[in-house]
């Protein structure tokens, strides 16, 4: 734990600030990034400790908005030991540069929601693990035709609209994102209600056409769950939800963000490029990682289903349906950057700034602006994580690194 009021100066680093990589020092105090000019002229003090970053790239900590579990833990399945499971994942993610995430619960029976949504709380990051920004509830109000790996028997309609939703979930206190299919009856009012409560609504697992998508956006939906997956494919006469990337009916000043799994498997690199070129500012990298992330080949559990890992991919056991990725966030960033040949800045912002903007927390997360939380990563060439820092404290260091 760092002493309160201690002023740290991170020197010899290249930082990502205001969409550029510049040579600049980062000053941290009490877990926040502070403005050194103010300190120099107002307080007239020098740094208590200088930390040499060895010329590495200092980027904001990565934010994962969709992750079902990892390291053997499945959030939708680990009901009794939800807190322990959460801690395990939060700790394991630090090695991959993730400093904040949204544990995702897939379509599950009501009992699961009742317990898990109470046990998984929003919490700050620390040396024990990444910050929990809130739960991403993916389902059960989705379309059976696009269930993907979700169990069909748990999928529900919005019979009484918002009332049904609250009944099923129990509490919305710890929820940050809700994924639903906008073509469902009563979806519109539910979206509006959730948005008014500050919960981000995401469209996914749906057969909605572009018009239905646009109506949902008008009601307040702002995110698309894993673009291209579990939705109608792009058609030139009815672009479907994919068409939202270029829709002219999006209200002015509003940006539609879309999650995309850049593991090289769920999305073809060409599709990745199309999405990036169409709407680069809205692209958000998500892992949609399952419990098998970080584990060896074999069979594991995801939600209510059994999953098989073979050849570095995860399938629903016994079929060829992909059911989630096992790529880590830093791998996704590298894959994305290679496939689109975009700038390092764009690649990193897709995993930091854009997810923060989706949740409306960009003043504290996802940037290195003054006043933001001091959550960042030190990367070397090739965007490999050398160390992870939360609130100015080193929470992970790559042990295979050469002398620092």
């Amino acid at each position: 734990m760092i002493d309160k009021g201690k002023l740290l100066q991170f020197v010899n680093c290249n930082i990502l600030r205001h969409h550029n990589i510049i040579r600049e020092d980062v000053w941290v105090r009490d877990g926040k990034i502070v403005n050194p000019e103010k300190i120099f002229f107002d307080e007239k003090i020098a740094a208590d400790q200088k930390i040499d970053c060895g010329g590495l790239l200092l980027a904001p900590g990565f934010i994962d908005l969709q992750i079902n579990g990892g390291f053997g833990v499945d959030f939708s399945n680990e009901v009794e030991n939800a807190e322990a499971g959460l801690r395990k994942v939060a700790k394991g993610l630090l090695a991959h540069g993730v400093t904040s995430f949204c544990p995702t619960i897939v379509t599950s029976p009501p009992q699961v929601y009742d317990k898990v949504l109470r046990k998984i709380r929003k919490q700050d990051g620390s040396c024990d693990g990444a910050a929990v920004l809130g739960i991403h509830v993916e389902g059960p109000f989705i379309n059976k035709e696009k269930k993907g790996a979700h169990p069909e028997n748990c999928i529900l309609p919005l019979e009484k609209g918002y009332e049904t939703l609250v009944n099923v979930y129990g509490t919305l206190e710890n929820v940050a994102i809700v994924t639903l299919a906008p073509e469902l009856h009563n979806a519109g009012e539910v979206i509006a209600k959730l948005t008014s409560k500050g919960i981000a609504v995401s469209l996914g697992h749906s057969v909605a056409n572009l018009h239905e998508g646009e109506v949902a956006v008008k009601h307040g939906a702002s995110f698309i769950t894993h673009l291209f997956n579990a939705m109608l494919p792009f058609h030139h006469r009815d672009p479907g939800l994919v068409g939202l990337l270029a829709s002219d009916l999006i209200p002015t000043g509003k940006t539609i963000y879309f999650g995309i799994i850049a593991d090289g498997i769920h999305t073809h690199p060409a599709a990745l490029r199309i999405a990036h070129r169409t709407h680069p500012k809205g692209l958000v990298l998500v892992t949609d990682a399952i419990s098998a992330m970080g584990l060896e080949e074999g069979t594991h559990r995801v939600g209510q289903l059994a999953v098989e890992i073979r050849e570095g991919r995860a399938f629903v056991a016994g079929t060829n349906t992909l059911c989630g990725s096992i790529a880590t966030m830093d791998q996704c960033i590298r894959t994305f950057q290679e496939a689109t040949a975009c700038s390092i800045v764009n690649a990193i912002e897709a995993a930091t700034l854009h997810p923060a903007l989706t949740l409306g927390i960009s003043s504290t997360k996802g940037t290195l602006d003054y006043g933001a939380d001091a959550d960042f990563v030190l990367l070397r060439d090739g965007l490999e994580v050398m160390s992870t820092w939360i609130a100015g404290e080193c929470v992970f260091k790559d042990s295979s690194a050469a002398t620092k």
Partner: protein
């Protein structure tokens, strides 16, 4: 006083930085002996600051025992505004070196009582023992007067540069860009300063200091006097008179003609650009004497004849 002219602004920046480096290191500043530095802002010193940062990073220059006082700051501009001098100094110098923030002084443009802020600033300078070395940019000229007022003649070691030096320097640069050069042997200067300044050097050659020179037909004197000019005018008058003396002194030519000739040819030479002269009575008298002589000679009259009053009828 020394004027050093170099080929490019990069060379000037390096020269200036090396000079500052030398002065600070020779001074051997310590915890009881601070080196007080006066600093400018603007485009001119940027190169010098970059060099100073370089020297600091190399380990040959430390600002640990250096105090700085900046020349000025804008009033009413927020301190973190990109155009403010606080912002400028922080980003272009202070954040890259090891200076103690307590030793940095820049006027607060947002102080509630600006007079008091300036007074306190002055006090700080005096308490720190005065400025050991002041670095100024191209607009230093204006600030020389500013500082003289500010310090009301108290002991401040500032090097005074006159208008002429700055002009020569700027001109050399200006013409140099089009390939023209200033001649060292032919360039002369006249300084209007209250104290005797040392000779001005232009790349090793000492320039001639003169007391008067001719500009557009008039003579300009160092102290702004008229004697030389009046003498010159009288000489010109006589020259013109001599050209006409054949007619003017002829007994057979009428007074009228002589008068008209005089008024047309000689008078203008005598009075050329006299409209602006701050003439004294003595000088006026001198001119009258000259005119009288000319008129007497024209009419074959001597002073003994005492006909001055009559001759004055020539005047309109």
């Amino acid at each position: 006083m020394r004027l050093v002219i170099l080929e490019s602004s990069e060379e000037v920046a390096e020269w200036a930085a090396k000079y500052v480096l030398k002065r600070i290191n020779d001074f051997k500043p310590g915890p009881d002996r601070f080196f007080v530095l006066g600093l400018p802002t603007g485009g001119t010193p940027l190169g010098m600051y970059k060099k100073l940062i370089e020297y600091h990073k190399k380990g040959i220059l430390s600002f640990k025992y250096v105090k700085t006082f900046n020349m000025d700051e804008y009033v009413g501009l927020p301190r973190d505004h990109p155009e403010s001098y606080h912002y400028y100094m922080w980003n272009n110098l202070f954040k890259h070196i090891d200076i103690d923030p307590k030793n940095v002084h820049i006027l607060d443009g947002n102080a509630k009582d600006l007079e008091k802020e300036c007074e306190q600033f002055e006090k700080n300078i005096l308490e720190s023992g005065g400025v050991e070395l002041f670095v100024g940019g191209k607009t230093l000229m204006n600030f020389i007067y500013f500082f003289k007022d500010m310090f009301k003649g108290q002991v401040v070691k500032l090097r005074l540069i006159t208008h002429v030096i700055v002009q020569i320097f700027s001109l050399a640069l200006y013409f140099g860009r089009s390939g023209m050069r200033i001649s060292r042997t032919k360039t002369e200067y006249m300084s209007k300063s209250e104290e005797e300044s040392a000779a001005i050097e232009l790349e090793g050659e000492i320039l001639t200091s003169i007391r008067k020179f001719k500009y557009l037909g008039s003579i300009v004197e160092r102290e702004g006097g008229l004697d030389e000019e009046i003498q010159h005018r009288i000489t010109c008058g006589w020259m013109n008179w001599r050209k006409l003396s054949g007619v003017l002194c002829d007994r057979k030519v009428s007074c009228e003609i002589k008068g008209k000739l005089y008024k047309t040819v000689v008078r203008p030479a005598l009075l050329y650009s006299s409209e602006t002269w701050p003439i004294t009575k003595a000088q006026e008298r001198k001119m009258e004497v000259a005119e009288m002589r000319m008129l007497r000679q024209m009419n074959g009259v001597t002073r003994k004849d005492r006909l001055t009053t009559v001759l004055k009828c020539v005047q309109p």
